[in-house]
Symmetry: C2
Subunit: 184 residues, 2 copies
Amino acid sequence: MPKDTYIPCLLQLFRQYGYDGATLARISEATGLGKASLYHHFPGGKDEMVQAVMDYLERWLAENVLPSLQGNGTALEKLQRMCDRLSELYEAGRQPCMSATLLLGSARDLFHARVQARYCAWINSVAQVLVDAGLNSTTAQQRGEDMVITIQGSLIVAQGLDNPDIFQRSLQQLPQQLCRNLAT
Amino acid sequence: MPKDTYIPCLLQLFRQYGYDGATLARISEATGLGKASLYHHFPGGKDEMVQAVMDYLERWLAENVLPSLQGNGTALEKLQRMCDRLSELYEAGRQPCMSATLLLGSARDLFHARVQARYCAWINSVAQVLVDAGLNSTTAQQRGEDMVITIQGSLIVAQGLDNPDIFQRSLQQLPQQLCRNLAT
DNA sequence: GTCTATATTAAGATAGAC
DNA sequence: GTCTATCTTAATATAGAC
């Protein structure tokens, strides 16, 4: 089997258990591959597995999330489309975010630079939508940050209260929050 | 030395490295105690260490955060005082939250129930302040949830962007957000 | 591309001296 | 209350057959 086959499975393990908790024993069991086979596909070990998942996620964002911000419609409509895609990615609040899991653990330094770059790109994309809709760039930047804050926070609280609805409610209110005081 | 001496050090390790990443080797080095001494203070091992840190945090919240909600003043003033205390706890955004770190890792099941109870208590306390100020209870509950969402989310994003100012800005805007459309 | 078998290191945990 | 020494298990990783 080509190694791409195992990426969704690896995503699942790393976002649920974190870098340390996703042991080769668990990975072996979940993928159905022996440890030696895993090293055949990923000679760099877990480090390379995480990088491969990040490649996959970056592709997914580039093909699904960012285009929803660039199509037709008002800023509100664009952000609503984006939120629909994010709800898929996080399975309506049932799944944590891998980047958050990696930031909060011993592997932070390994992956921090890449997570930071992705957060920046995402924030800037949302800010650009708001600037195009007439908002000043300082406020637009803040609201881009607020978007990631709300996503990440509601995923944590959904985990903590064991209630995915909290994520869904936050996501549903988010586009209007980001577009408040906007002419369009 | 009494075992309480080591709690702040343990808090630091668990919130930074998580349950798996805070190895006995690291704990031994940071506390200056040998492994056997650690088991003298905490016979239950890391599990008991985390529980002791949670005891400490619950005491800290009960003595610092909750009283700031029960003193004199408007709802806005109460929430501002609470945010000042939280800024101390998270060292102005430079430190992650231990409960989030524990929720996003392999030890989730061990500590989830206790984290859930604390989130609920905290949300209810804030909701009560807003109800007392005239808000209906459904909206007050939602805003209590929004408070934890904003705290947790801004701590994650502060870590991700390596910029604690994001936490400080969110915290500074939070009380007014929670009190919006309020008569008082 | 997958396996069995194994090497190596580090993890959590305990015994018993001081 | 702290230590050294040790045990047991589990972790990452590799060699080499099929």
